[in-house]
C-alpha cells in the first residue's frame, strides 16, 4: 500500500521495501564478504547519493502526474557550466559555484515547467525535447572539449570529498536534500497542494489550487536539484564532458517507481524514494563484486528492477484496481 502522509492502513510500503533491501544486502554480503568493505560501502553511498538526489527531484514531478526526462541532461549542462566557470575564475570559491548550479538548474526546470503549465504540452513531450536541447547545449558551451581535473581548482574537487564524521560532503548533501524534501512535502502548504494536484487535479481545482502552477513548481524543484547534482557529479568524477550521466534519467525514474511513487501521480514519499535509490545502488555495486560478466550486468539489473516494479504494482493493484474501475463505470 503506497502511503500518503498521515493515512495509515496496514504496513507502509516502505517497510516491505526496506526489508527487501536489507535482505539483498545480507545476501550479497554472505556470498561475498568483500562487498561489505568500508571503501566499497563509501563509494556505494556516494554513487547512490547522486541517484537519490535526482530521484527526489523526479518524485516532485511524478507526484503532479508529470515526468522529467531532462534531469540527467540538466545535470550535465549545469555541471559543464560550473566546471567552465571554475576554470575561468579559479579563485571564486565554492559558494558561487553552488549558487550558479542551483539557480541555473532551477532555470532549466522552469523552462520545462513553463511549457507544461502555460503552453500545455504534455511533460513527457516537453522533456523529451529539452533532454536533447540541454545535452546539445553542453556541446555548444564546451565546444565538445572536456574539462579535466587539471583545469579544476582544488576546492572545486575536494569539497565533495571532504569527510564529516567519516562520510563525504557529497553524501551529506544527498541526505540534506532528502530531509528538506521530506519537510517540504510534510509541513508546507505547497507540499500538500502538490499531492492534491497530482492525486485528483479535478478536486484540487475546485479547492482553489492552480494545478498547472504546482506542476511548474515541481519542475523548478527537480531542476534545482539536478543542477546541484550536476556540480557534485563533475566534481566527484573530476571531469566534465558532453555525455555526463547519459541515460541516467531512466535509473532515476526506476528508483522512484521502486520506491513506491505512482507514475499516475499523487502517491509516494521521500522515504520510499531513498530506499528505492539504495536498492538500485546496491544492485549496481554488487553485480561486479559478485562477478557477473559486464555483458550481463545490465540485463540482470534490468530484470531485478522489473521484478521490483511488478511487486510494487501488484501490491498496489490488489487494493485499488477493481475499485477504481467500478467507480469509473458507476460514474459514467
Amino acid at each position: 500500500m503506497p502511503k500518503i502522509f498521515g493515512a495509515r492502513r496496514g504496513l507502509p510500503h516502505e517497510v516491505g521495501l526496506g526489508l527487501l533491501t536489507l535482505a539483498l544486502l545480507a545476501l550479497v554480503t554472505i556470498a561475498f564478504p568483500r562487498f561489505l568493505v568500508i571503501d566499497n560501502l563509501k563509494s556505494l553511498v556516494d554513487d547512490t547519493a547522486l541517484l537519490i538526489m535526482l530521484a527526489v527531484g523526479e518524485m516532485f514531478v511524478l507526484l503532479t502526474r508529470g515526468v522529467d526526462l531532462s534531469v540527467a541532461a540538466n545535470a550535465a549542462l549545469t555541471g559543464m557550466v560550473v566546471a567552465l566557470f571554475n576554470a575561468h575564475y579559479p579563485g571564486a570559491g565554492i559558494l558561487p559555484v553552488i549558487v550558479i548550479a542551483i539557480v541555473m538548474g532551477a532555470a532549466l526546470g522552469l523552462f520545462n515547467g513553463f511549457l507544461v503549465w502555460k503552453v500545455r504540452i504534455p511533460s513527457i513531450v516537453v522533456t523529451l525535447g529539452t533532454l536533447s536541447v540541454y545535452r546539445g547545449c553542453v556541446y555548444l558551451v564546451s565546444g565538445g572539449a572536456w574539462v579535466n581535473s587539471g583545469q579544476m581548482s582544488p576546492f572545486f574537487l575536494s569539497f565533495v570529498r571532504f569527510p564529516i564524521l567519516g562520510i563525504s560532503v557529497l553524501s551529506w548533501i544527498g541526505l540534506l536534500v532528502a530531509v528538506l524534501a521530506f519537510l517540504f512535502l510534510r509541513f508546507t502548504i505547497a507540499g500538500r497542494n502538490l499531492y492534491a494536484a497530482g492525486n485528483n487535479p479535478n478536486a484540487a481545482g475546485y479547492a482553489g489550487i492552480d494545478v498547472g502552477r504546482m506542476q511548474c513548481l515541481a519542475f523548478v524543484l527537480s531542476g534545482a536539484i539536478a543542477g546541484l547534482a550536476g556540480y557534485l557529479w563533475v566534481a566527484r568524477f573530476a571531469v566534465a564532458y558532453t555525455d555526463v550521466a547519459s541515460g541516467f534519467e531512466l535509473q532515476v525514474i526506476a528508483a522512484c517507481v521502486i520506491g513506491g511513487v505512482s507514475i499516475t501521480g499523487g502517491v509516494g514519499g521521500v522515504v520510499g524514494v531513498v530506499i528505492g535509490g539504495l536498492f538500485l545502488g546496491i544492485i549496481k555495486n554488487a553485480l561486479p563484486v559478485v562477478g557477473i560478466s559486464p555483458f550481463f550486468q545490465m540485463a540482470v539489473s534490468g530484470f531485478v528492477i522489473t521484478v521490483a516494479v511488478i511487486l510494487n504494482a501488484g501490491s498496489y493493484r490488489k487494493n485499488h484496481g477493481r475499485k477504481i474501475l467500478e467507480r469509473a463505470e458507476a460514474s459514467s
Binding site: 500518503i4 498521515g6 499531492y195 481545482g205 492552480d210 499523487g266 460514474s331
Partner: protein
Amino acid sequence: MSEPILSLAGVTKSFAGVRALVKGEIDLYPGEVTALIGENGAGKSTLVKILTGVHHADGGDIRFNGEPVHIGSADNAGRLGISAIHQEAVVFDDLSVAENIFVTDRPRKRGMVDWATMRERARVILAELDPRIDPRMPMRQLSVAQKHLVQIARALSNEARIVIMDEPTAALSHREVEELFTIVRRLKAEGRAILFISHKFEEIFDVADRFAVFRDGAAVGQGLIRDVSRDQLIAMMVGRSVDQVFPKTVVPIGEELFHVAGLSRGEEFADVSFGLKRGEILGVYGLVGAGRSEVMQAIFGLTRPDHGEINLEGRSLKIRAPEDAIGAGIAYVPEDRQIQGGILRFPIASNIALPSLSHLSHRGFMRRADERALAEDYVTQLQIKTSGVGQRLEELSGGNQQKVVIAKWLATNPRVLIMDEPTKGIDVGAKTAVYRLMGEIVARGLGIIMISSELPEVMGLADRILVMRRGRLRATFTRAEATPESIVKAATDA
C-alpha cells in the same frame, strides 16, 4: 399483438451499496418503438448498461424471445442483436466512418482486414441513411447527427434486432430530428424493436408506440402511448409523494446577499440573472444539460463567463479563479464528490483542510495540530461516522463522504454555498442528514444555491425555485406556487 422479443422483470442493480435499479421491468416488441421515460437518476442509464452488457444485473429475469438469457458482456449483447446509440455519440473520432461501422467485426480476407469489402458494405448501408457520408471520411468531420447515423449503421451492420437510442435527439436540430425519425420509422417497419429514451414529450408522442416510466430505479407504469396523456406521464414520472418528509427548517429570510446579472458564456448559457437572500435556499431545477452546473462553475471561477456581473453583499466581484471565489466567500460543493469533491486517498483531515490551508499555517508551514482540531470539530458538528480524522476518505460511506465535502467548504467560512446535486447517490438516511445540515447552514445567515434534479428535493427544501432549460432561465416559482407539473413543464417544454 406479438410476443415481446426482450422482456425484463424485477431486475436489480446496486453500486457500492447504492441501489440504482430496484425493479427494472420493460418489454420490447418487434416492430415497435418503446419510449423509456424518467427523471435523471430514475435508473434509465443503468438499464441501458445492463442491456448492452456493460453492467451485470444483480438479480431479476431477462428473457429473449421467451428464453432466459444472461447478458454478461458487450459481446453477448451484440450476439443477441442488441445495439445501442448513445446520447453523446460514442465513436472513434480519428478512425474512418467505415472503421467505425465495423469496429467489432472487420471484414477479413486471409486474416487481414479486407478494406475494399469494408468500404463497399459501409457504402451500401450508408446509402440508405445519408448518402453524403463517405465511408473514408474521418469521423471527426461529421456532425453530431451524422455520428448518430453512423452508430445506426453499426447497428444495421450487426443485424441488430433491438436498437437502443439513449437521448439521440439531445444535440440535434429540428430538421435533423425529423430525418432521424424517418429512419426510426424505417427500422420499425423492418421489424426491429426500438427502445427510445427521451425527455421530450413531443418526440415521444410523435414516434413511440409504447411507454415505460421509471422512477427511483423502479418501473412505475407501462402501456400504449395512445392510451395515455402527457399529463398522465408527468404524473407517473414525479408521482412519488412530494410531501415526503423533508425536514425544512423555517428560517427568517433576510436582505439580498448575492446577485448575478446577465451571465452568459458561449453556447453553455445566456443571460442568467438571479438573486439570493440570507437564509434562503434557492433551488435550481432542470434536465441534465440545461446548463445549471455550467452557470455555477462560471460563478466559482472554474470557467470565465463572457458577460455578466456578480455581486456579493453589494460589492462587485472579479473572479478569475476558484481561489478568488473562495476568498470572496463563495463555496461550491460539486456534483461528483469522488471526482470533483474530495481526494479519496487523502485522510479526512487533509480533505477538510485543503481549501483553508492558508488559515491553518504560518509562513507557509502548516500547523498540523490546527488542521486536526478543525477536522475534529467538523466531524463532531456534522456527525461524520469515522474511526478518526486520519481515516482515508475512500473508506467512508457515500453519505459520510458527502458530509466531509460539505465540511471542507463550510470550513472556508463562506457567505454563499453552492451545492450541486447534494444528495446524489447517497441513501435515504444520509439524505435526511444532509437536508438537516442545510437547514442549519441557512440558519447561520448563509444563502444556499442548490442544484437538484430531484423534484421532491427541490420542492421540499427550496424557498424559491429557478428552472433552466437549454442554457436559459425559463421560470421562477415561489415555494407556495410550485407544483410538480408546472416545474417539469418549464424544464421540458420546447
